[in-house]
């Protein structure tokens, strides 16, 4: 379990990061290393053999965690744990999701942008980014572009990033008036990757549902988002705050989304069990999001 030989550079300017990636690409292959929590096991098992690792964690331009035009902007060097400590209240759905990522030790090294770039289909942050409509900043030698989360993920462990590009930041929108959030997942143990999980965002206006988005993860090659505004609006107009009735009605609606789940299944969860989890967790997340919205409105 020792990596194949590689060289390692740790630039302190973003330009140099891009330059190093370009150079590494022409010499074979280069890879960004951020927290190393996903990359190092890949190297140690020799499942990947980049010739050069470009460490981005000492670039001051990538270190920022700040508000910016109604969003929270998280730079590529910012660790998950820092966000958990400093910004969980301001981006509540991210705050709900973070404690589910591995263990504290892992979150204190792993970065938010690294998790997005890694694009594990069972990871929490890509699902949350999708649910909130986060926007990623992608930088390469030809400059920077803004990519909405919905366009960023292209499959299991794959994104629109080019070989010499990196994510420099991600912006999560802060909650708007009437918004509420729900999150839940099931893993075999605390800290394991989810067998399945769900993130929900709803917006209520005068007691009525005007927006409802549900994202399921861990069940396909990438997180899947679906609009539930119609069914949820109808359910809430009929049952109001009766959670039992809401749950029953929404379970029906979410079932259809669950039936779309097609996975090979493994020793930890069959396709059938994952469908059940999506149905249960998805419904719970939506119902919780409604309650959350009302709770926020009262504050």
């Amino acid at each position: 379990m020792k990596p194949a030989p590689f060289s390692y550079v740790r630039p302190t300017r973003l330009d140099d990061v891009v330059g190093e990636l370009e150079e590494a690409e022409s010499a074979g292959s280069g890879k960004v290393i951020a927290g190393g929590q996903s990359l190092l096991p890949v190297l140690a098992m020799r499942l990947g053999r980049p010739r050069t690792l470009v460490d981005i964690t000492r670039v001051p331009e990538l270190a920022g965690l700040r508000e910016e035009g109604g969003s929270i902007r998280i730079g590529a060097a910012v660790r998950q744990r820092q966000v958990e400590r400093e910004a969980a209240q301001r981006i509540p759905l991210v705050g709900h999701a973070l404690p589910w990522i591995g263990h504290r030790e892992i979150r204190s090294r792993g970065t938010v942008c690294g998790s997005l770039a890694h694009a594990d289909p069972s990871a929490e942050l890509p699902a949350v980014a999708l649910c909130l409509g986060a926007v990623l900043t992608v930088t390469g030698s030809r400059g920077s572009r803004e990519v909405p989360a919905a366009d960023f993920f292209t499959g299991a462990m794959s994104t629109v990033l080019g070989g010499t590009e990196l994510v420099t930041a991600v912006r999560f929108p802060a909650p708007r008036a009437g918004e509420g959030f729900g999150f839940g997942e099931m893993a075999r143990r605390h800290g394991d990757f989810a067998l399945a999980g769900a993130a929900a965002r709803v917006r209520l206006d005068g007691g009525g549902v005007v927006e409802a988005q549900l994202v399921g993860f861990g069940v396909a090659d990438r997180a899947r988002s679906q609009d539930f505004t119609g069914p949820l609006a109808e359910a809430v107009s009929r049952h109001g705050q009766d959670e039992k009735a809401l749950t029953a009605v929404m379970t029906e609606a979410v079932s259809e989304m669950a039936e779309d789940v097609v996975t090979a299944g493994d020793a930890h969860a069959s396709q059938d069990y994952r469908r059940r989890l999506i149905r249960v967790l998805g419904t719970r997340a939506l119902v919780r999001a409604c309650a959350d919205s009302r709770r926020r409105a009262k504050r």
């Binding site: 379990m1 194949a4 020799r46 099931m186 967790l281």
Partner: protein, 810 residues
């Protein structure tokens, strides 16, 4: 009773903190990887088979040998040239070497070793080793391996059944004929491990001396030392030409590191060809693939039960999956619980068929709960099934069948002698503390409301201090050569007093983190009337200087019953000499003297005393003053040799352990009716391990064993795909962490001192690892009782519950 022998001292029985811990928690532990005993040692990487079953057509080591920094590369040719097959426990033609030679038989089996300046270089060169494989069909489950047309693991054996024995005690057939009910079930117990934090670690040095090769090896092996002759046998040298050194700190084992010895041999071969000492440190993937694990077992149990629910006879069939080789001490898992196969129950008639089957999985070996995990899963599941069949309460049914308190010492039909116990009291206690009967009513109501809650119970007789004679049972009595019997649970110590009166204690138990030094100090300080700090235990092992025998080591929970008994004997011998010396100084007869408070006193005349250290000083500095015929010997060795541990009888009975403790456990679970997530709500346990030497340590053992049991019950499984590919990382092999182990636990105890050990202590390291998986299964089955589901396999988790419920509701 042992109470007459019991210590009158003040330390035994106290919850003293472990003296081992300060160094460990401040990073000053001395594990093998921290040590560099032979400067210039090279580092090895092992090339392993990616295939479960293949013929080795050719091995090309040349490119790897030419890689810069590589000193040697060895493969099957060098192994065959240097080693003989390891001597097996049975005469089964299934030759076992540390590498595949003709074939590979499991994923992860070593084929070649690269020796280089460092591990990185060695792994780089390992990629250059080319092995030409001809793939063969694999077989992973015993049900498939025993088929007539199954692919053969070992062509020379002609069958995958390495051992097949039938034992019959009492009148089994007539009991079944007379039975009011015959209740039977088939159960399977998963293959799982203990995954110690520190993996295997070895340094081997091969030297050519005038008298032949001499091998010196450092490793974190911990016994049984019966593997030392096995190792020497493969190396073709006497045990005296093999020196084994084991550092003081071992990062856990729970039995798993008993399987390290093939690597000691393999690295010795590597050292021979490299001309330098060779170090190999196992990584986690290697560990999961190819170190060792408890065996998976398929069991059929059937019981002849009378109208009252009393079990009159048991008919048992064990099919043990020992993996690709019958690696010694296997097939021991099958026999470790031979004497206690009837568990907590008085059952006079027993039939047992025991088969050890080879498959394309990694070889098995010792694992906490060895043999008992499997046995009690089957036996306790059967007891639940009997209760259900007869419409009885599961606890009540068990109570009726218990070995009665008045029956101890109790002889089991298979030869076990349960030394002491009060099962009735222990069961009564656990039922009371868990509010068992009331709880069951409450839960029935909750289940009627749609909740999935349940309570399970399991009882286990916990064997400790193995009698190695049981390994002999795998060979039919008529084939066991007379005069070549095996038996014993011997344990050795040396106690030495220095001129300043400080006592050093050399233990042969090779602890893996249990705290032997802490308890040894308590026992010796008490026996010699000394303050704790005057006793200095040494636990590192050097086979050239530490007293040892083939049964030495830490396994089968043998420290508390055996080593402390040896300590009592050795300390008492030293005390005799101290008294003679003090008698000279006090002008008093030695038999009038007693040791207390660091002094030697005349009993009844407290003012007449000398310091212990002055008495010790006299022996060292002024032996001429000793009475005639008294040797100036302030060290004593003892080999505690319990007469109860004898070889198997001609009728195949054996007292397979010296001591038998007891565990009664009640577990409550709740299952989320939607996600099927299982959570353990409450555990009530009562343990009897005889005299308690240190309550803190015993509590640690109970927790540890329970969490190990939790692993098998809900999380861990070394699973293989049908094609023979195993789990190989902690991503898939799920060990419970502190987050999973925070269930509420109420523990209690019953103390029935053992009459066969010096302090009345029994082992206590494994009990709950045997009972807990069965208790959890019992609880989950109860929670799902409305659905008529029976739990016959482990581990249990949401996915399994989903499968069971889907199948139950067509």
């Amino acid at each position: 009773m042992a109470s007459a022998e019991s210590s009158t001292g003040s330390y035994v029985g106290q919850p003293l903190a472990r003296i081992e811990d300060p160094a460990l928690v401040t990073g000053r532990g001395r594990f093998l990887d921290d040590l560099d005993p032979l400067p210039g040692t090279l580092v090895a990487a092992v090339v392993r088979s990616p295939h479960p079953h293949a013929r080795i057509r050719g091995v090309d080591l040349e490119r790897a040998r030419r890689h810069p920094g590589v000193a040697a590369v060895i493969g099957p040719e060098e192994v065959l040239e240097t080693l003989r097959p390891f001597p097996l426990s049975l005469k089964t033609p299934m030759p076992y070497y540390p590498t595949g030679t003709d074939k590979v038989r499991f994923v992860g089996e070593p084929v070649a070793v690269v020796v280089a300046t460092d591990r990185y270089t060695a792994e780089d060169a390992a990629e250059l080793v080319h092995i030409d494989y001809e793939l063969l069909p694999a077989v992973v489950e015993t049900a498939d391996a025993v088929r007539e047309d199954a692919p053969l693991l070992h062509d020379s054996a002609g069958s995958n059944i390495a051992s097949d024995r039938l034992f019959d005690f009492g009148e089994v057939d007539s009991a079944f004929e007379a039975a009011a009910h015959v209740v039977a079930g088939e159960y399977s117990f998963p293959r799982y491990s203990s995954t110690p934090m520190e993996c295997y670690s070895v340094i081997s040095e091969w030297r050519e001396e005038a008298g032949g090769p001499q091998v010196t090896a450092w490793s974190n092996f911990h016994g049984p030392f019966s593997m030392v002759p096995v190792l020497a046998g493969a190396l073709g040298i006497g045990a005296a030409q093999l020196r084994l050194i084991i550092p003081q700190d071992n990062g856990g084992s729970f039995g798993i590191k008993a399987g390290i010895y093939p690597y000691v041999a393999l690295m010795a071969v590597a050292s021979k060809y490299a001309g330098r000492p060779v170090r190999w440190t196992e990584d986690r993937i290697e560990h999961l693939l190819a170190s060792s694990a408890g065996s998976d077992r398929v069991m059929r149990f059937s019981a002849a039960v009378d109208a009252e629910g009393i079990v009159q006879a048991l008919d048992v069939d064990f099919r043990e999956n020992v993996g690709a080789y019958l690696r010694p001490p296997e097939p021991a898992t099958l026999y470790r619980c031979f004497g206690n196969i009837t568990g907590a129950y008085r059952i006079d008639n027993v039939r047992l068929r025991s088969r050890a089957v080879v498959t394309n999985k990694a070889p098995t070996g010792l694992n906490r709960g060895f043999g008992g995990q499997q046995l009690y899963f089957g036996l306790e599941r059967l007891m639940d099934r009997i209760a259900r069949t007869l419409g009885q309460n599961p606890a009540e049914l068990r109570r009726r069948n218990l070995v009665p308190t008045a029956a101890f010492p109790y002889a089991t039909p298979t030869g076990g002698i349960y030394d002491s116990g009060d099962y009735e009291q222990a069961v009564a206690k656990v039922l009371e503390s868990s509010r068992y009967q009331q709880l069951r009513k409450e839960q029935e109501e909750a289940r009627a409301r749609g909740e999935l809650v349940g309570t399970g119970i399991a009882l286990a007789v916990e064997p400790s201090a193995t009698n190695i004679g049981y390994v002999g049972l795998a060979t039919p009595a008529e084939e066991r050569p007379p005069g070549r019997d095996k038996s014993g649970s011997t344990e050795h110590v040396r106690v030495t007093v220095d001129p300043s009166g400080t006592v050093s204690v050399l233990l042969g138990t090779v602890p893996q983190g249990q705290g032997h030094a802490t308890v040894a100090r308590q026992v010796v300080a008490d026996r010699l009337g000394l303050p704790l700090e005057k006793v200095v235990p040494k636990v590192d092992m050097d086979t050239d200087s530490t007293p040892w025998t083939v049964t030495s080591g830490s396994y089968s929970s043998r420290f508390s019953p055996l080593l402390t008994s040896a300590l009592v004997e050795a300390a008492d011998r030293v005390a005799e000499t101290i008294k003679v010396a003090a008698g000279v100084l006090l002008e008093a007869p030695p038999q009038d003297l007693e040791l207390d408070g660091g002094l030697v006193r005349v009993a009844g005349a407290e003012e007449r005393s000398v310091a212990f250290r002055h008495a010790a000083g006299l022996v060292h500095w002024d032996p001429g003053a000793l009475p005639d015929g008294v040797d100036a010997q302030l060290y004593a060795e003892a080999a505690f040799t319990p007469p109860e541990s004898t070889a198997p009888s001609r009728t195949d009975q054996i007292n397979s352990s010296l001591c038998y403790g007891f565990v009664a456990e009640v577990v409550q679970v709740r299952i989320d009716p939607e996600t099927y997530e299982i959570s353990i709500q409450q555990v009530n346990a009562v343990h009897d391990a005889g005299t308690v030497l240190n309550p803190l340590l015993i509590e640690g053992q109970v927790h540890g064993a329970m969490v190990h049991g939790l692993g098998g019950a809900l999380y861990e499984e070394m699973s293989y795909t049908d094609s023979g590919q195993p789990t190989s990382t902690f991503m898939d092999y799920l060990v419970p962490t502190s987050a999973e182990a925070d269930f509420p636990l109420t523990g209690d105890r019953v103390v029935t001192p053992s009459p066969v050990t010096k302090l009345g202590a029994k082992g206590s390291g494994e009990g709950s690892s045997m009972s807990f998986p069965a208790a959890v299964a019992s609880a989950v089955e109860d929670a799902l009782s409305a659905h008529g589901i029976e739990i016959t396999a482990l581990p249990l988790h949401g996915n399994v519950i989903n499968d069971l419920l889907t199948r139950a509701t067509p």
